[in-house]
Symmetry: C2
Subunit: 388 residues, 2 copies
């Protein structure tokens, strides 16, 4: 573990998952599971056909034979009667298999005429059959805790008839933009709306405030934020400038600064503190630095509170479309575009850029100690999603 | 272009982007831009310091020199007076540079004492300076049409003071689950809630209905769906089974089936039709097939209507954690997990599985004609997002 990863581990050790609550599946989209979802009903619920075809006892179809078609079963029909030896059943995809049948021969391999099915080859036991509970047995675990309920997870919850699920309470996050230039309206606050959208996309509840550079005012905003929220994210006021008042405000409230300054570029001034038992995540005010520090350090901590099992973005090594260079003594992050050929190309290097992040769909990570990396060599790409 | 890509191109050629509307940036999260965002204000608005340090005229600092510190400028301060030749200004990150200054020397390289700044090396013109409009000049294009407004894009809109943006109207999508087994409640409808969540996550407005297997009822549901919606997505009733009534319902309404059956597995029975000038996207009812056909053919068409420039998921070649095999005469898609080492491992092959898709974070694409692919070889992975 390098220094940056150690710092992240320190922060993660200081935050805990919020309490669970039970909600109907219909209201659970975008939430994280606090406990596994168990199957109230097996998936599939009955042994059924995986194909349009003919259900048989496999032993009855050795080579080319012809069997009488005793019944037809569609998906959704009531349970069919047993299949007598020496008979076939016409079945469609999803149809419950008649008791006794153990194989489905695809319709392309069967010729039906005059109520009889002529098979052109030997049937194999189990082929084209989906056994009851094959996906998930009744009472079995459908999904583990820590998974987010997106579209495909909601499909599984519906299939196993999970009426309610146990999810983690949504974190309420006070989001405080600091600085006279922002509070006074001279500079547009670009970080505040961005982080509010990012928190909402991650299933959290942001509560925005803006405050100037006075340490009393910052302390008061922090105190108000801490009252109602589970965590506070501040923007600006954390570097070494004489007007950087977030550390002073934390101390004024009797809080404890655990991390201040991180060996990374951009995002170096990041601060982590605890005040009144709650976490305070201090992001730098430069737009790119703010967004990088959020991705690398703040978002994982908030996702842990939200109950997520995976705290970092999906990461894959991807080849560089142009050479890049690490920075001595710290990790470096670069916003990048994923190109058609699967290469990644950096867009904008400067800490204050707002255009680079907006055009990026990945964040490249050059760990501390990385020197020059040639074109075509792989680097770790953190894959950003479309909506945050 | 192989057969599957040709079919997708046929479908895409049949759908058009919906009309644009102007909305305030604050209400535009998750929407697609119908027109570029132009900068009402340059980013950055003034030439400013990229560092905490000392602003100088570069020509004044050749080697080790000492200059009087004439002023201090913080981010957000009113515009400072000009810097006289032979003077330095103490500046903090984001501070407007005094006219005349063209270089900022990092504070680590300067010793300030008794109102004078002692420089330890030559200053370079332009270093640590962010020129006004460097990110986006006033009136310049901040974001192109077709981009989705997520967190980082909203930051850029705020920075350039785009008060309103032109976005595409959200597609209203009628989502019709067909089949007696679903409408009658004997089988839980797992596809309906999943696709409703997927459409909502993609910024669309789903309107759910359920209907049985009678062709009149399916036609009536289609007609009602077409009245209020921009497109219809049906689930089930599109394969060759005798009860598969979607194609018959389309014809009963005077519609035109353009695609029925696609060389892919799963998802083969997919149907595309036009009825009354609107697109109908018919998905198979087997859960995995339904979700694959949605990803591969329906979602791109709906995203085109929504105004997205990128219609397919982000795709990267990733190495296989275990061998896979293509299917003769058709493309194959496999749900897969991204492993810690960047490899992809298939989870569940069967068309009807609901557990595989729920555990997947990628969809692997083996184009038609792909044979056996060994462990460690790259395959095209479509990267799924967390919330859909």
């Amino acid at each position: 573990m390098d220094r940056l990863e150690q710092i992240r581990a320190t922060i993660l050790a200081e935050v805990s998952r919020l309490p669970p609550e039970r909600v109907p599946v219909a209201a659970a989209a975008g939430r994280w599971l606090a406990a596994p979802v168990r199957a109230a009903r097996a998936a599939p619920p009955q042994t059924c056909s995986a194909m349009d075809g003919y259900a048989v006892r496999a032993g009855d179809v050795a080579g080319t034979v012809s069997l009488p078609v005793a019944m037809t079963v569609y998906a959704g029909d009531p349970p069919p009667p047993p299949l007598a030896p020496g008979e076939a059943a016409r079945v469609y995809t999803g149809a419950t298999l008649p008791p006794g049948a153990d194989s489905v021969v695809r319709e392309e391999l069967v010729r039906e005429e005059g109520g009889r099915a002529a098979f052109s080859r030997t049937a194999l036991a189990g082929e084209n059959v989906r056994r009851a509970g094959e996906d998930v047995p009744e009472g079995g675990e459908a999904l583990p805790a820590g998974v987010r309920l997106g579209a495909r997870q909601l499909a599984l919850c519906a299939a196993v008839e999970a009426g309610e699920v146990e999810v983690v309470r949504r974190p309420r996050v006070a989001l405080i933009s600091t600085g006279d230039e922002v509070a006074g309206g001279r500079t547009p606050d670009s970080n505040g709306p961005a982080l509010a959208a990012a928190l909402a996309a991650a299933g959290m509840v942001p509560e925005r405030r803006a405050v100037g550079d006075e340490v009393e005012a910052v302390a008061a905003a922090l105190a108000r934020g801490l009252e109602g929220a589970d965590a506070v994210v501040t923007i600006g006021g954390v570097s070494v400038g004489a007007r950087d008042q977030v550390p002073a405000a934390v101390e004024r409230l009797g809080g404890d600064v655990r991390v201040h300054g991180v060996p990374m570029k951009p995002g170096k001034p990041f601060l982590f503190a605890r005040v009144g038992g709650k976490p305070v995540l201090g992001l730098p005010g430069s737009p790119s630095a703010c967004l990088v520090a959020f991705e690398v350090l703040a978002r994982p901590a908030l996702l842990k509170m939200a109950g997520a099992a995976r705290l970092l973005r999906r990461r894959v090594p991807l080849p560089l479309a142009e050479p890049v260079e690490g920075r001595p003594g710290r990790a470096r992050f670069l916003w990048a575009r994923l190109e058609e050929d699967g290469q990644v190309r950096p867009v904008g290097h400067d800490a204050a850029q707002v255009k680079g992040p907006a055009l990026a769909d990945a964040l490249l990570y050059l760990p501390e100690g990385t020197g020059a990396v040639e074109r075509g060599r792989p680097v770790e790409a953190w894959l950003l999603e479309d909506d945050a």
